[in-house]
Symmetry: C2
Subunit: 360 residues, 2 copies
């Protein structure tokens, strides 16, 4: 087991990474305020891992209540969130009860938002079971649900008490989701860790083959990058925005295509190629660098073109992005492989042309 | 104009109290991050005061968008809250846009929760227009919506940047709502300010007659009490819970009778009498003190008996209270007029008997 720390003062917390951490109630128990938890999971992950987590906690004298949500991004909305509140109230969970998210990014984002808002805040623990959630969404305290007009538009910054990333749960992850998770690993290389990018160029097939050592390295390195960024800028006033490379384009794809039709990581991959294309047109990336980025995404089995929506639709959807300020779209772009910047000066025509060149 | 300060470190903010502060955009402008606001009001307050606030801001070069909600506690739910999100997204409000609540407690609680969660948090300003919201809900950062199983069960602690309490707006407040607001003023006297209680005994008819000086004194003194308590305990780990005198009983009344049938202040008044009755049975208050408390409520035109719900229903609804910890109901009770305590040791039978004695 490897342990990282997210240094957030009185909200600091550890991330434990390794096979089987799910069964170790000793990693959870010190963080509970009372001997009571509520677990939020979904109908795909629950049948695989709920019984183990529940058994470990109950053997330690903890009362466990459970709510199982329907799986998928299309359910990341108020109606589904309300199933969590219904359960919490029906079982009389208190604000001292701890909420545990067992599942991928959607479960984590919704359970986290429920924890942030139930009785104005209850303790929260993340047990991510997908590559995407282990390397990204379960660390850093971003919680949210979607609105028909925009992804993650309603949410809160709310930090977990501890994160348990059980790498063995990835054994049951569908290939498509493993690949989608890799998009975020590649992202850390692109924005701030060129050595990670180099490592992925050398070893990405080992990750795709789920070699435990390769997976564990990719996860730990990703979490370490994220923990550093979040510790420096918890509520995204500055550097943290760089974690959104490809996300403004990607959210437009997710919203425009209907939630869940493109996986988040797939949309981020195509969005990253659009950002790389725009960076090249601004004279920052060379064509050779764009080709390297594209080649790594192709080897990861990720899309390098967005869907054929009209460019006007992309721009319209992007204008709702959370990084827009005083009407100006601020995009995360690349100065080189390993160095991202937030840039508000790109002309709409140039943005449109970059989208055009990278969709279809 | 009188100004108080809520001392919350980097989230400190001023409360301006006086007639006509609504028209003074100079009190708002320094707190805006960009020249853009969204105003949330309701269909009763909007027609009376929206144009003035909007004109003042627009004359100062601020873009103003507006959403008008249906009035009343029965609308304090997700469906109505979503009208705010719909407007914010349709008009492309950014996370740097400031949300302004113009109205009573329901508008303030909902707008505050919308501000806390839109794009994970946008700046927020309160312009309360009822006595209840001026003395209580607009100060302190509690925001929430109701759930069918409990009042204010979903919310956040989220502080405003500034509060403008325009005492002249109370001229249009219905008598019933003025009286309901007085319940919270009496509460401050009971829990921590015996001199305020004495003053109310001497002058409550002047407040009911809306004498400007009497109103301003009652509001300023209430806000000063609240500001002190909130500064000492922002997220209700301790002393702040004392502000909920009468509220655990009162929430049961509001939920049990259907939201909006009893006004919040009316339910708090009846709940306060139940708490006083229980305090007497515990040997803490004398019969004479209970009689004084009752007499003041009667003079304020407030109910001193709860509705005739079965005691079991009261207890059932109270068991969902946010102050329950490890199954034990923690009630705010009175040691004397001017001194409240949080008490978890009252026997259910004694609680039931106190309710029984004070409902019907």
């Amino acid at each position: 087991m490897r342990t990282l720390n997210v240094a957030l003062g009185d909200r600091a917390y550890p991330i434990h990474i390794g096979p089987g951490v799910l069964d170790d109630a000793g990693l959870i128990r010190p963080f509970l305020r009372t001997a009571r938890v509520a677990i939020v999971t979904n109908d795909v992950v629950g049948p695989l891992y709920l019984a183990r987590l529940q058994r470990a906690l109950e053997a330690d004298g903890v009362r466990v209540d459970v709510v199982t949500l329907p799986d998928g991004e299309s359910h990341k909305n108020w109606q589904t969130l309300n199933l969590v509140f219904d359960m919490l109230l029906a079982t009389r969970c208190e604000r001292s009860t701890t909420l545990i998210a067992l599942g991928g990014g959607v479960v984590g984002d919704m359970a986290g938002f429920a924890a942030a808002t139930y009785q104005r805040g209850m303790p929260f623990i993340q047990v991510p079971t997908t590559l995407l959630s282990q390397v990204d969404s379960s660390v850093g305290g971003k919680t949210a649900i979607n609105h028909p007009l925009g992804k993650n538009m309603i949410g809160a910054f709310y930090q977990p008490r501890v994160v348990l990333a059980d790498t063995a749960t990835l054994d049951t992850l569908p290939d498509r989701e493993l690949k989608a998770g890799l998009a975020e690993v590649i992202k850390y290389g692109l924005i701030r860790d060129p050595a990670l990018f180099d490592w992925l160029e050398a070893h990405i097939e080992r990750v795709l083959a789920r070699e435990p050592e390769a997976l564990a390295f990719a996860i730990e390195r990703s979490c370490a990058n994220k923990a550093e960024v979040v510790a420096a800028d918890e509520t995204e006033q500055g550097e943290r925005a760089l974690l959104n490379l490809g996300h403004t384009f990607g959210h437009a794809i997710e919203t425009g295509m209907g939630y869940g039709n493109w996986l988040h990581g797939e949309a981020v991959a195509a969005g990253t190629m659009m950002a790389a294309e725009l960076s090249r047109r601004l004279g920052w990336l060379t064509a050779a660098e764009v080709a390297r980025i594209e080649a790594l995404h192709v080897r990861a089995g990720l899309p390098v073109l967005g869907p054929p929506l009209p460019v006007a639709t992309y721009l319209e959807l992007m204008a709702n992005d959370k990084k827009v300020e005083e009407g100006r779209l601020r995009l995360v772009l690349l100065r080189s492989i390993g160095k991202a910047v937030l840039h508000a000066g790109a002309a709409p025509d140039l943005i449109g042309a970059s989208i055009e060149a990278r969709c279809g």
